[in-house]
Subunit: 129 residues, 2 copies
DNA sequence: ATGAGGGTTCCAGCGAGGGGAAGGTCAAGG
DNA sequence: CCTTGACCTTCCCCTCGCTGGAACCCTCAT
């Protein structure tokens, strides 16, 4: 398979696939003409990576997850720990965003949103509380 | 005021303050020795920027907000619209993160997390559903 | 022969700064 | 007077996960 086929079958842009090779996540062979030559296992790995990235795992997490996946003697505890740490980071981000949302939501609610210059949002940002 | 004073009084790192000057958000004067020389108004602007950034506004949003703040004849509607757009982006991010959280949470719940290699998380990532 | 539509490499850039080097300036202490 | 240490300056590279584009090569159909 050439990169275009792998791209459409995995849903990942060709650029991303080249990048993943660059950083050593996959190691496709090369044809005589220099083109990357992907096997089914490469496609499978790329799909794995796509799903892991979609769950928000970092590239380094993905590297670890792939290694665990390929290690037949892994302990599921290691996978679970990684997932739990990631889950905690997600929760933290949600909490941060939620705090912003609440604060900004309050300010927005207090803003008339008309043609007058009076604005509680700007007032808050400027420090007049 | 030198940059160190402004930094400690605004809570922003000196690097960030120099960066904000670089991209034209503030324009401190210079002393004879080449040091940046901040007035109270600069400090005030930096505090404004700090609060806007803490609410998750992008630098470009901050630029617009500052312009609105300094425009005595602004319409609060313009501020509110910017805030509402930002609020929508925040909500979108929260929704994305929440979806990840839910999916990953389910997988984690199903994973024994012991010394055996069997792992529903890896199973899901590998596409065996 | 030529054009379209693959593929390849390499370089630059995004946002919002952070790290650190190399050097100038200033006040206090010996 | 000299030095030390704490500031300040500019400059350039690094982050993360790609993305865009330039310049070039390969293959097949017309």
């Amino acid at each position: 398979m050439n990169i275009g086929d792998v791209s459409s079958r995995s849903g990942l842009p060709a650029k991303t696939i080249r990048y993943y090779e660059d950083i050593g996540l996959i190691k496709p062979h090369r044809s005589a003409n220099g083109y990357r030559c992907f096997a089914e296992t490469d496609l499978h790995k790329l799909a794995f990576l796509g799903r892991a990235r979609a769950l928000g795992f970092t590239i380094e997490d993905c590297r670890t997850l792939m290694a665990l996946y390929e290690d037949e003697s892994r302990a599921s505890a290691d996978v679970k720990q990684l997932a739990l740490e990631h889950l905690a980071k997600i929760e933290e981000k949600i909490a941060d965003l939620q705090a912003m949302h609440d604060t900004l939501g309050e300010l927005v609610k207090c803003c008339a949103g008309d043609s007058r210059p009076d604005c509680p949002i700007l007032k808050d940002l400027s420090g007049e509380s």
